[in-house]
Amino acid sequence: MYALLFHFFFFFFFVPFVPSWPTSVHFTLIAADSGRQIVEEAQKRTDAKSQRYEGVLQVFDGKGKIADKRWSFERLGSHGQSKVVLRFSAPAEVKGVAMLIVNHPDRASDQWMWTPAIERDRRIALQDRSTRFFGTDFSFEDLDERDVNQYDYTLAADNDIVDGTACWKIQSTPKESKSSQYTKSILWVRKDNYAFARIENFVKDQVVRRATYSDIQNIQGVWTARQLEMADLRRGSRTRLTLDKLEYNVPLKDEDFTLQAIRRQ
């Protein structure tokens, strides 16, 4: 879920060594450089000029599915400097709601939301980003696309098994300049194709959100997870995102990624 990784849910960041290392996270720190190299390679392999897909979101609480949402997603530009337009098509009451995300390599992304019911756009401020995105288990911060330079990485385990696949286990912490709701994240990167297998996001020493990537396919040369499940461990709910009609390097125009453009339905 490479692509997903970098234009969607990305969190992470880390300090190579935390003096009061949480007892709940027992692993051996191996090499900071190799952790970063692996993530860089993962990012490199997902490189595409643009991307488009239709996403299906299914929200589950402890008792079962409570909501379905659909959106179209378009991204233009390279990692860390891309622009994203995300437009809801279902349920009917949120049709036309759109988001513009402008990512920056050196700071948090700028995000705006267009709400057709009031015909206005609204900037989503920094402090808003821990908020759940439209009642799903993704937060607004999870929509950010993060450049590797915004985080520090440490290879925590060289051969961890996730769903029967060998993975690198990498700890990432946001750099001081990076504002994040997460204290740190643990990433599992598949050794066979550098796709992300799982990401756990921590607040202090507690895992608060877990992303699990599955149905990994090679789409136009990019190994991509077609399904991502984000679990909010504090609430006991989860959201599954499925990617349909995924395409890379589609012809998109820069002028379609502006505040004026998201007004158009």
């Binding site: 049709k95 401020a125 402090q127 821990s130 002028e255």
Partner: protein, 445 residues
């Protein structure tokens, strides 16, 4: 109601009728033919949204001029958007309305302009074409144009008339005209130019209903609607917006008419044959020509977002000598933490020249007030919201609580409770007999 007074030459009327017929014909073609042609072509070229909503409002108290305590409303909305090519898009929408308290017209007709005193039974909500070329966007037709950044009061939002049939639960009315936006600097700078050939006023509460507050002492005197003088001229505005790294701001200029009227109230003697002479108050609405100079700014910070907006509104005195000059300003703080959203702010007003004796101006009526709003998203289907406004003078208080729950992919129920208290001479306080509860059931499609 007395017919609105307008002096229109026969030629103009004929031209207008022709326009109406053309509009209607275009709309029928648009709604019936084009969608069926494009619906199957691609989801990218055709989108539709709409809803059916039924609501019931219960007022526990009689008002001085209105003893109806239960009001039912039914609204059907359908909007379609067609994009036959990447550079052009058409938008169309209809609103159908029924109301148990005579707030909507009974006659079934399509109203394109939506400028009447009553809500049309069938209104063209929007009908526009959007053309884009590189950084230039031109919208032409009936559309919504929103300016400003604040939520409590938006002083620069001059092209956004509203339906004030219920003063505390309003909706925007579209305007007819052309809006051009030119972007530069990768979309960071935008220059908007708006021209409206025809003025659209806000819709006011009916004079014989509770949202027209009548003092108890005046209950015995009949109030009659002497109509409105709708200005015939065009309106124009320019707005420059800049989006920076840690700040975004806009400057705007408006030359047009206030969509909220000055009120001309005159005592008349209604002498009819075979009936004793009767005193009455005739209410006429005048929409003053104004110039408005505005600015708005939003500064997102680590812990909160500061938004501010101001506009200086000056009457074009030669045309409307009886209108006020005033400055409205709003400072608003926003904070979102977890699933909570908090908005609080102060709206103020400074009158530099007072000329109008009587106005209907909810924007000014809500100034000198502290307004706060909190909302909480419980989960993907449920939310609650609290909203309150208190006048600085202590003269009026408004509080609203709302619970909303979705069911399945289409249904949503919203339960609302509103409490209004205060003195009769205060803008909010005058509605002190209009506290109410409401239930709305919406099916979205």
């Amino acid at each position: 109601m007395i017919e609105e007074r307008r002096v229109i030459t026969k030629t103009r009327r004929t031209r207008r009728n022709t326009k109406q017929v053309l509009y209607k014909a275009l709309f029928v073609c648009f709604v019936c033919f084009v969608p069926s042609r494009y619906r199957d072509v691609s989801a990218q070229t055709f989108t539709q949204r709409g809803f059916v909503e039924g609501s019931v409002i219960l007022f526990p108290q009689d008002a001085v001029n209105d003893t109806t305590r239960i009001v039912g409303d039914l609204r059907v909305r359908d909007e379609i958007f067609i994009k036959p090519a990447p550079w052009i898009q058409f938008a169309g929408g209809l609103d159908l309305r029924l109301n148990s308290h005579d707030q909507a017209e009974r006659a079934w007709r399509v109203d394109v302009s939506d400028r009447g005193a009553l809500r049309p039974s069938i209104a063209v909500r929007r009908l526009s074409a959007t053309v884009t070329h590189k950084g230039i966007t031109v919208d032409a037709g009936k559309q919504f144009i929103r300016w400003g950044k604040t939520d409590i009061v938006t002083p620069t939002d001059r092209f956004a008339p509203r339906d004030f049939m219920n003063v505390v639960d309003t909706e925007f009315l579209a305007v007819t005209g052309v809006r051009a936006a030119v972007q530069a600097g990768s979309g960071r700078d935008t220059l908007e130019v708006v021209w409206l050939p025809r003025f659209t006023p806000s819709r006011l509460p009916r004079l014989d209903q509770r949202w027209t507050a009548v003092p108890a002492g005046a209950a015995a005197i009949p109030i009659v609607d002497a109509g409105a003088v709708l200005p015939e001229g065009s309106e124009a505005g320019v707005r420059w917006s800049h989006v920076g790294n840690g700040i975004e701001f806009s400057l705007s200029y408006f030359d047009g008419f206030n969509h909220l009227p000055d009120i001309d109230a005159a005592t008349t003697i209604n002498a009819q044959p075979a009936r004793p002479a009767e005193r009455a108050i005739a209410i006429r609405r005048d929409y003053p020509a104004i110039l408005a100079y505005g600015a708005d700014v939003a500064v997102p910070m680590r812990w909160l977002t500061i938004k501010a907006e101001t506009a200086y509104v000056a009457s074009a005195s030669a045309a409307t000598p009886g209108s006020d000059d005033y400055l409205i300003y709003v400072v608003q703080l926003e904070r979102q933490t977890g699933e909570w959203v908090f908005v609080a702010g102060y709206a103020g007003e400074h009158v530099t020249a007072q000329r109008a004796a009587l106005t209907f101006a909810p924007d000014r009526g809500l100034t000198r007030s502290i307004v706060a709003r909190a909302s909480y998203t419980i989960d993907a289907t449920r939310s609650v919201a609290l909203e309150s406004a208190a006048r600085q003078s202590g003269g009026g208080v408004y509080a609203k609580g709302e619970y909303s729950q979705a069911r399945g992919q289409h249904w949503r129920t919203t339960i609302t409770g509103v409490v209004i208290a205060g003195a009769s001479d205060d803008f909010l306080g005058q509605y002190n007999r209009n506290s109410h509860a409401a239930v709305a059931l919406r099916y979205s499609f």
